[in-house]
């Protein structure tokens, strides 16, 4: 079916972009029709965000051109993009938390109203758009006080205020509950009905089939395939994303369960309360038990206390009330250092900030938590030989791809960096392993590796606590699933009993009694 040039909202022609160390986009061709929702699918690092940032003028391509409404254009800055009717909803919100909604919308308002901030006009416009698209929000609220779903509305309003006709959305559902995701999708459908276009960046296969008219798959900077929704299947899309057959882990997990012999209770958490950064109770009378040989998964929208719970378990945050007992030992009040010795491993959400010291070598990162133990140091002096031998063994055992053990960690790929963290934490976790968002930012291959590692720990008889906002990950791996909302666990399911709809409702606090 031939596409007339004027039917095209946007066209990207031969876009190529280099960054130090990688080729982010390679000769990419992309057409977006008016009144169309196109999904840009690919793993982390495939080049989707980069491509859209080029369209939005935040990056400049090294070669290639762009057409908007059939005309050749040069987009040198977001202001150019916005003037052409292209708006972007970023993955990490570009909002100023300490300012109000109006202030944030006005910031993106553009050079038309320099000088005086026409607050009252903006407020009226915000209210009008809010009603028209079901995106209502209090214009004078401070952004940092808004829930994540509401913050996203502000991001969208910012773009609409500037007259966006083509919206680029970068992983918009990463922080949303299933219900909020549905609301976002219905906005997208309304927007499309009005004749506008949406470019939807994601790595989630199931959503793509829900919302997209057409799906474009990127891999390592190249376009590897293009399908209409009617032609696509999850399996086929996954294969295109990765380039090979993708194993389905869930059947393996079920098969392994028979071999695991469960030990008695390893971790008992009783009514603990933990204070959050804003002085509120992030964890509010939470209780749970984890046995040896089981993976306990916590599902929930981020911001309901999961991070604070994990921090409390590894000693980074104080427990104000309640008790945590690990194999008959009370953990409350113990330091991070003590808890490492108690055998608690911790795979953090942000491996760059929390899990590794990027400027240190691979071997230094491997001993990061045990450098003062007698194995690696005597009387305060480090034993370089022992450290090197240990590191070489680990590198071999875990197949960590690195030129040497003294290479700086920042030179390794994301997957190999996570391997360092995993290798280290598995060595420490003789009782309990806490894993928070362990596959964030990893490609499918590396994520698979992490999942298998977690299963191994479980099979060896330790207890595993998995905290993740990726519901599919929690559902696949966990033996039992707890849904966390506002600092407490509302209900615990066994894997067989898990019902997605009920879990989704619990994630926003709707319990059975209320329905």
């Amino acid at each position: 079916m031939p596409i007339k040039e004027t039917d095209l909202a946007v066209e990207l022609i031969g876009i190529t972009k280099y960054f130090p160390g990688t080729i982010a986009n390679h000769d990419v061709y992309l057409k977006i029709k008016k009144g169309e929702v196109v999904a840009l699918l690919g793993e982390n690092g495939a080049g989707k965000s980069t491509l859209m940032k080029i369209l939005y003028g935040m990056y400049q391509p090294d070669s290639g051109s762009i057409k908007v409404n059939g005309k050749d254009v040069k987009i040198r800055s977001p202001q150019d993009a916005m003037a052409l009717g292209i708006g972007m909803i970023h993955q990490h919100f570009t909002l100023v938390p300490v300012h109000t909604v109006v202030e944030n919308v006005l910031l993106g308002a553009g050079a038309e109203d320099k000088g005086r901030a026409s607050v009252s006009e903006a407020v009226k416009e915000i209210e009008r758009m809010g009603k028209a698209y079901d995106l209502e929000v209090d214009p004078f609220a401070f952004v940092r006080q808004l829930a994540v779903g509401m913050q996203q509305r502000v991001e969208i309003l910012k773009a609409l205020y500037r007259g966006a006709q083509t919206l680029i959305m970068d992983e918009p559902t990463a922080v949303l509950t299933p219900q909020n995701t549905e609301r976002l999708f219905s906005f997208i459908r309304d927007f499309r009905e009005a004749g506008h276009s949406v470019i939807f960046i994601t790595h989630k296969l199931n959503e793509v089939l829900d919302i997209a008219d057409r799906i474009v798959v990127l891999r390592s900077g190249n376009v590897v395939g293009e399908l209409l929704r009617s032609e696509a299947s999850e399996r086929e899309l996954a294969q295109m994303m990765v380039g090979r057959e993708v194993a389905d882990l869930s059947s393996e997990v079920k098969a392994q369960e028979k071999d695991v012999h469960k030990k008695e209770s390893i971790l008992r958490v009783e009514n603990i309360k933990v204070k959050g950064d804003r002085g509120h109770w992030a964890v509010d009378s939470l209780s749970m038990n984890i046995d040896g040989g089981e993976i306990f998964g916590i599902a929930g929208v981020s911001g309901n206390g999961q991070e604070e719970l994990a921090e409390a378990l590894c000693g980074l945050r104080a427990v104000s009330e309640g008790q945590i007992i690990l194999r008959d030992n009370s953990l409350v009040g113990k330091s991070v250092h003590d808890l490492i010795h108690e055998g608690i491993g911790y795979i953090p959400a942000d491996r760059h900030r929390e899990g590794l010291v990027l400027d240190m070598s691979v071997e230094e990162n491997l001993i990061l938590k045990r450098f003062s133990s007698s194995e690696f140091a005597s009387r305060g002096v480090l034993s370089e030989k022992n450290i090197q031998l240990y590191a070489q063994k680990i590198i071999e055992d875990y197949a960590i791809k690195t030129p040497s053990s003294v290479t700086k960690a920042k030179a390794l790929s994301g997957g190999n960096q996570q391997k360092i963290v995993i290798a280290r934490e598995l060595g420490i976790a003789s009782s309990l392993l806490v894993a928070v968002q362990p596959t964030r930012g990893l490609d499918l291959g590396a994520a698979d590796y992490v999942h298998r590692a977690l299963l191994n720990v479980r099979n060896e008889g330790q207890a595993v606590l998995l905290i993740s906002t990726e519901l599919s990950e929690v559902l696949t791996l966990s033996d039992r699933i707890g849904v966390m909302y506002r600092g407490r666990i509302l209900k615990v399911f066994r894997r067989e009993e898990a019902d997605i709809e009920e879990i989704g409702l619990l994630m926003v606090g709707v319990t059975h009694d209320e329905t």
Partner: protein, 358 residues
């Protein structure tokens, strides 16, 4: 090609020294002096005879220590701007001990003064470290202000309890010869303190890269959050680092009082702290680089002082040279990074072209 390029890149600090000196040379033109002549004279003077050459090392001695003071703390991403004050406190401790314990034999007296200067400087510095640990106060401002307070204390003591018996000038008596650090080369000003300074530099290197304490210090410096997650107590590190850093600067006080001046005069060596910062930056906060940079600054001072005496160029030219060298070093770091990134991009493009032609 790659190997040659790496060698070329690692010599960047040297280029910046030349650039800095060149800029200072331009300033000399304003006074109608030919910079080439001036620099020639500077080098000739500096290496004219044993006395001057030895003087280079003598001048470098306290600079090594104040450079280590800033550099050591910098490894933990802490900014100790108070080395000047810690130096003065160390001076006070050294001169006080020299005066009070003057009856003791030389080895014991020197040992006491040495240890006292380190403890005093260390304690003075650890106040800042403690404030940082306990109150998360801005150590940059605190250490800066602590210098002014140290100056006040020193001036008070020198004009009061410690004043010379004559009571004329704001300075102490000359200390007994028992308290003089022995000369390394006779008939020069170079004393054994230089060797001690080298040992301290090695000690700093050893701590940072070969001990568990140094591991903690560097981890906190490179990624504070990561260090916390690893169970490292950053508060203890702050206090320890500032103590050690202050001790280094305090030891510089012992060097100057017992090694060179043999007394304490108000307002002497007022830039030694700031110069230490410059030296640490030039030496990339590494003990070896710091030693080399200190020697460079020492040579600039010795040669520069003689040039100043024999030409219309004022002594402030030395400060100008130091400052311009520092700025050039900063610019050179940037240029070096740019070159590395650009060559990476080029390499990628060439690799891609090769793949396509296959």
């Amino acid at each position: 090609m790659k190997h040659n390029r790496r060698l070329w890149l690692s010599l960047f600090p040297l280029y910046s020294v030349f650039l800095g000196l060149a800029l200072s040379g331009i300033m000399m033109l304003f006074l109608g002096q030919n910079p080439l002549v001036v620099y020639k004279e500077l080098v000739i003077f500096a290496f004219r005879d044993i006395y001057n050459i030895a003087d280079i090392f003598a001048k470098a001695t306290p600079l090594i220590l104040t450079g280590l003071a800033f550099g050591f703390a910098f490894r933990s991403t802490l900014f100790n701007i108070g080395a000047q004050g810690q130096f003065y406190i160390g001076c006070l401790a050294a001169v006080s001990c020299s005066l009070f314990f003057q009856v003791l034999p030389l080895p014991i007296l020197l040992l006491i003064c040495c240890v006292a200067s380190m403890l005093a400087g260390g304690l003075w510095g650890s106040f800042v470290g403690y404030a940082k640990a306990r109150f998360n106060a801005n150590e940059f401002l605190l250490s800066m202000m602590s210098t002014y307070v140290a100056v006040a204390i020193m001036n008070y003591l020198i004009r009061g309890p410690l004043i010379e018996t004559k009571g004329e000038y704001p300075q102490t008596d000359v200390i007994v010869e028992n308290a003089w650090i022995p000369q390394l080369i006779p008939h020069t000003r170079l004393h054994w303190g230089f060797i001690l300074a080298l040992l301290v530099a090695f000690f700093a290197y050893f701590i940072l890269w070969k001990t568990t304490l140094g591991f903690k210090i560097r981890a906190v410096g490179m990624n504070r959050d990561g260090a916390r997650y690893a169970g490292i107590n950053e508060k203890k590190v702050f206090v320890t680092v500032f103590f050690i850093s202050g001790a280094f600067a305090g030891l510089a006080g012992f060097m100057e009082v017992n090694g060179i001046q043999h007394m304490l005069v108000q307002g002497f060596n007022p830039f030694i702290g700031a110069e230490g910062i410059g030296i640490a930056i030039l030496g990339n906060a590494h003990p070896l680089g710091i030693v080399l940079s200190a020697l460079l600054f020492g040579a600039l001072k010795v040669g520069g002082n003689l040039v100043v005496q024999t030409s219309p160029i004022p002594s402030s030219i030395i400060g100008i040279m130091e400052g311009f060298v520092m700025l050039s070093v900063i610019v050179s770091y940037f240029i070096r990074e740019r070159i590395i990134v650009a060559s990476e991009k080029k390499r990628l493009r060439e690799e891609e072209r090769r793949e396509e032609s296959q």
